[in-house]
Assembly symmetry: C2
Homo-oligomer: 203 residues x 2
C-alpha cells in the first residue's frame, strides 16, 4: 500500500523531531500560550508546512500528546519492569520519575501531561480521553509486575496489585507537581526508602 518513495517533493524536515520541538513549546507555554509563530519557529518550518503536515493547531497538539505518551515517559516504567527485585524496581521507578521531573532535556519541569495538558481538558476536544488512557496504561503496566511477583511467590497471594499500582502512580503525580513548583531532586529523594517499604507492607 504505502511505498517508501512517495509522489511529489519530499518534506525537508524530520517529522518526529519537529513534533518533539512542538511538544517542548506546548509544554513550556501551554496550548493557548504557544503561538503558531512560536511553534513553527521551534520546529524549523514555515506555517504552511505545519498546516500541510500536521493539520491545524489542535491536531498538532493532539499529535504531540500521542507522541509523548508513546515515546517520552517510559524510563520509569522500564526501570520498574527490569530491575531484579521488586524493592529495586520501586526504587528505580521513583528515582527515574524524580530524575525525569527535574532534568528533562527540554528544560521543562514536571511532566507534559501533568503540568500542561491537564489544563486543556474540557477546552480542547480529544484531550481528556488521552489523559485517562495514559493513566490506565501506566497503572496496568505497574500492576502487571506486582502480579508477576505474586505469581513468583515474592509477594503474598493477597497483595493488592492494582491498589498499590495506583498509589505508586499518585506518588509520581506528586513528584511532578512538586518539581513544577521548583522542588529540587535532593528534596524529593529523601523519603524514597520509606515509600518503597510502605508500598510493600502487608499490614
Amino acid at each position: 500500500m504505502n511505498d517508501r518513495k512517495r509522489l511529489g517533493r519530499p518534506r525537508g524536515f524530520d517529522y518526529d523531531e519537529a513534533l518533539k520541538q512542538a511538544t517542548s513549546v506546548f509544554w513550556a507555554k501551554g496550548y493557548d500560550g504557544a503561538s503558531l509563530r512560536d511553534l513553527t519557529s521551534a520546529m524549523g518550518i514555515t506555517g504552511p508546512s505545519m498546516y500541510a503536515s500536521f493539520g491545524d493547531k489542535r491536531e498538532l497538539y493532539l499529535k504531540t500528546i500521542d507522541h509523548y505518551i508513546d515515546a517520552d515517559s517510559c524510563a520509569p516504567l522500564e526501570a520498574f519492569e527490569t530491575e531484579e527485585s521488586i524493592q529495586a524496581a520501586i526504587r528505580g521507578f521513583l528515582i527515574e520519575v524524580i530524575r525525569y521531573a527535574t532534568e528533562h532535556e527540554s528544560g521543562a519541569k514536571g511532566c507534559f501531561l501533568a503540568s500542561s495538558v491537564v489544563t486543556t481538558v474540557g477546552q480542547v476536544e480529544g484531550v481528556a480521553e488521552r489523559v485517562a488512557a495514559a493513566i490506565e496504561y501506566a497503572e496496568t503496566r505497574l500492576a502487571a509486575r506486582f502480579d508477576r511477583e505474586v505469581a513468583r511467590g515474592t509477594l503474598p497471594s493477597d497483595f493488592p496489585s492494582r491498589e498499590r499500582a495506583a498509589l505508586l502512580y499518585d506518588m509520581r503525580q506528586g513528584y511532578m507537581f512538586r518539581a513544577r513548583a521548583g522542588w529540587s531532586r535532593e528534596q524529593m529523594m529523601k523519603d524514597i526508602e520509606a515509600r518503597v517499604h510502605m508500598l510493600l507492607s502487608s499490614d
Copy 2:
C-alpha cells in the same frame, strides 16, 4: 487610616465575588485561554473597571491564586483537623478531596492549582513561589495533626509525620489529576480504607 467611606464613586460590584468568577474562567480556560472579554463578562464588569480595580491580566491572575489558596480549598484540611480519631481524619480528608475534585460549584474538575495554575509556572512571574507555598502550607497543617496524635500517644513516638503528610498530599494530587481526566467519585472512593490503613502503618 482607612475610613469605611472612601472618597469618590463607590464600585458597583463585589470585589471578592468578581475574583471568584475570574478564578472559574482561568480554571476552565487557562491563563492565555482566558481572554479579557471572557473574564470581564463573567465578572460582570467592563474592561476599564477591571484594570482600575485589579491591575492588568497578570495581576488579576495572581490575585485569583492568592484568593483561591486562602478561601477555596480548605474543606479537606478542616475535616482532617476536626475529625475525632486520626483514622477518621484521614478518611475525611480523602473523601473531601474527592468530593472537591469532582463536584466543585464552578463545574471545573480537579484543583485550580493542580489543573491550571501549574501550567503557567515559568511563564507568569510570581506563580512558582505561590504554588510552592501552597504545598508547604498544606503539608505543615497535615503534619501538625500527626504530631499532635504522637503527643497524645495515639501514634507511636517515631511516627514520621512529615513523610506521611507528604504522602497524603501526593494522594490528593493523584485524585485531582484523575478527576481532571474524567474519573468518577465512585471510582476513586474504592481504596480509601486501604489508604487510611497504609498511612498509619508502623511496619
